[in-house]
């Protein structure tokens, strides 16, 4: 028994400990089961799935379903695989996340350090936008995009996601900056830094933790979004989620489950990656030492 478990955990007997571990392993396996099934079946040739047990391990493992899902599967008119739509998703998600995070940071900065009469109302309305269901805005948004000449285009889709993202990103940054000492802003003012200079040089460099939270949140939401993608993207800007749907729902030919599984995992991979990579930057204590300690 290690020292750490002795000091931090409740003391349990050998049997109790074994029981706890067993239950935990069971739930972990239960939770991983769908992903496991997907992985296993994405590595099987199609006859093995249609003719056999879904849970069985592949007898002749193959990467063909993955290749097919990525580059040759029939989606829409051409047999392009998910590749072009993956690119579409990247082209959509990167600017949408960047812009909404920047605007959220700027909003949070203004709402905490450059307060104006009625700032509470503005923040309240921005918060309200977090709770508007997507479906309600579909038709007005379509009309608006049409008027702006952005209907069915990538910039239009980015705009929609940015507008929807501002509510949450503002909430994050406002609450983070509320705890940021105002004396630092005042010191910078006396030092001669202006509105944007204070933002760039003083506020942003210490915003790492909240920026990571915001980016993970926005990235996951925008990448996984289906409704806006299917409504506003048109054919050229169609994101990964919509393409995946089209692939799986196609009513012609044989249903290639192994390809579907591989495609689904491909579609989920980037969000997983963002968690693994960005999660490491959840560093605390960046504020240490700015004020009394």
């Amino acid at each position: 028994m290690s020292v750490a478990t002795q000091t931090t955990a409740v003391r349990t007997g050998r049997i109790g400990r074994a029981l706890i571990v067993t239950v935990l392993i069971f739930f972990a396996l239960f939770y991983l089961l769908p992903l496991g099934v997907m992985l296993i079946n994405s590595l099987k040739p199609l006859p093995e799935i249609t003719g056999g047990n879904m849970m069985a391990l592949p007898r002749e493992p193959t990467l063909d379903p993955w290749r097919s899902a990525w580059s040759t599967a029939q989606i829409g008119v051409q047999a392009t695989g998910l590749k072009p739509y993956f690119l579409n998703s990247i082209l959509m998600v990167v600017p949408a996340v960047a812009i909404s995070t920047m605007l959220g940071a700027l909003n949070g900065y203004v709402l905490t350090k450059w307060r104006f009469p009625g700032h509470r109302w503005v923040f309240g309305l921005l918060l309200f936008s977090c709770f508007i269901p997507f479906q309600i805005v579909l038709i007005p948004m379509a009309r608006l995009l049409g008027l702006m000449g952005l209907a069915g285009s990538l910039p239009g889709l980015i705009l929609v996601h940015v507008v929807y993202g501002i509510g949450f990103s503002t909430l994050y940054f406002r609450n983070y900056y509320a705890a940021f000492p105002t004396e630092l802003v005042r010191a910078a003012m006396i030092d001669g830094a202006g509105f944007f200079r204070i933002f760039w040089r003083i506020m942003l460099p210490v915003s790492g933790p909240i920026a990571v939270v915001c980016i993970i949140w926005q990235f996951t939401n925008i990448w996984n979004d289906f409704l806006f993608g299917v409504s506003f993207a048109g054919l050229d800007a169609m994101p990964m989620t919509v393409a995946l749907n089209n692939l799986v729902q196609s009513s012609t030919g044989v249903r290639e489950y192994n390809v579907h599984f591989a495609a689904a995992i491909l579609a989920a991979l980037p969000t997983l990656l963002v968690y693994i990579v960005a999660g490491r930057y959840f560093v605390r204590g960046l504020m240490a030492g700015s004020v009394k300690g």
Binding site: A187, M189, I190, D191, G192, P205, S290, K292
Partner: protein, 370 residues
């Protein structure tokens, strides 16, 4: 016209006026301390000088220039904040030169200024560290360094020592005093600590409830407080205030006090003008150090009265022994020499130095008679 003029300045938040017609003028190189209890408006006034708060009415001018509408960065001031407000993402060196960088000073010049100040404050070895890696005293030095680098017309300090422990606070106080001597820069310093105010300043403004109660040199503030608020706020233990009545004997004014046990005692007053106020109820103010034992009395004092009285409390404090007795129902504290030995419940001959006595009107609380 002084170097820093605060002329008829008021501050209101909505309909609530928090500073009422403040008039303060100090000359170049003076060390002005704004002192008062919390909520008296001293920090607000400092922020108005800095330009961080708007001025509702009146004018503030620095070096002959009205700065009401001038941006903080162009007032040629530097400020040391209570929390130090060091930029956490920058090194000490970058912290100190940030202001110069913002003002477009060339890099070579910045480096030279940084080197000079770092040497002056002995923080040369800290320049590459981040604020998070510094102790409280070091952060305090860096915060002062950041102000010094700017070479401003006026230094502003907002309770800079209140986050330090007691020992360090006294050291830094001396340091600030030395720096002021050396640089001779006009300084405005906010504190709630009356000892800091007395030790550092060349001029003190005692504030309460948005009013300047008294503006004067530390000696004036201490010896001739304008009213009972100033008298009791400045000095520790605070000034003894006893109810008394003016009685004229042989043409000279006396303060008649009621000792414990209802006996009356006449104490000669040094203010001749009070002779015209026969019979008036007043408050007699006498600092603890003006009430001593026989051997501790000031030999140059003109008017010394002896009061024999029963001692109610004795508090030895090392260098001095404090003893209390009761006059007119109030405790009066005397500061005796450490080796005098009053006993609780026994009579003790106190010597009152009436040269130091001040008299207040009990209704307006203002000092009268001189």
């Amino acid at each position: 016209m002084g170097f820093l003029d605060i002329d008829n300045v008021t501050k209101s938040y909505g309909t609530v006026e928090v500073l009422h017609r403040v008039d303060i003028s100090v000359g170049e190189g003076e060390f002005l301390v704004l002192v008062g209890p919390s909520g008296c408006g001293k920090s607000t006034l400092l922020n108005m000088i800095a330009g961080l708060e708007d001025i509702t009415s009146g004018t503030i001018s620095i070096n002959g220039r009205v700065v009401n509408e001038v941006h903080p960065s162009r007032r040629n001031i530097a400020m040391v904040f209570q929390s130090y407000a060091l930029y956490p993402n920058m090194t000490v060196g970058q912290n100190m030169t940030f202001g110069l960088e913002m003002h477009g000073v060339p890099k070579a010049e910045r480096e030279r200024a940084l080197k000079d100040v770092a040497q002056l404050l002995q923080i040369g070895h800290l320049l590459d560290r981040k604020p998070g890696q510094l102790s409280g005293g070091q952060r305090q030095r860096v915060a002062m360094g950041r102000a010094l680098v700017r070479d401003p017309d006026v230094f502003l300090f907002d309770e800079p020592l209140s986050n330090l422990d007691a020992k360090l606070r006294v050291d830094m106080r001396t340091e600030i005093k030395k720096l002021h001597h050396r640089l001779g820069r006009t300084t405005v310093y906010v504190t709630h600590d009356q000892i800091e105010a007395l030790t550092l300043s060349t001029r003190i403004a005692v504030m309460n409830k948005g009013h300047v109660q008294q503006l004067g040199t530390p000696r004036e503030i201490y010896d001739r407080p304008a009213n009972t608020f100033v008298a009791s706020f400045m000095g520790n233990p605070s000034m003894n205030l006893m109810p008394a009545r003016i009685v004229v004997r042989d043409g000279a004014p006396h303060a008649q006090v009621t000792l414990d046990g209802a006996s009356q005692k006449l104490l000669r007053l040094g203010q001749p003008a009070l002779a015209a106020q026969d019979g008036r109820e007043v408050i007699l103010g006498l600092r603890p150090e003006a009430i001593t034992d026989e051997g501790g009395a000031d030999s140059s004092a003109q008017l010394v009265e002896q009061v024999d009285h029963v001692v109610s409390v004795v508090e030895p404090a090392g260098a001095d022994t404090f003893a209390a007795f009761t006059v007119g129902g109030r405790d009066v504290v005397a500061r005796l020499r450490a080796n005098s030995q009053p006993r609780v419940g026994a009579q003790f001959p106190f010597r009152l130095n009436m040269d130091k006595a001040v008299v207040f009107d009990p209704r307006t609380e203002a000092r009268i008679g001189d």
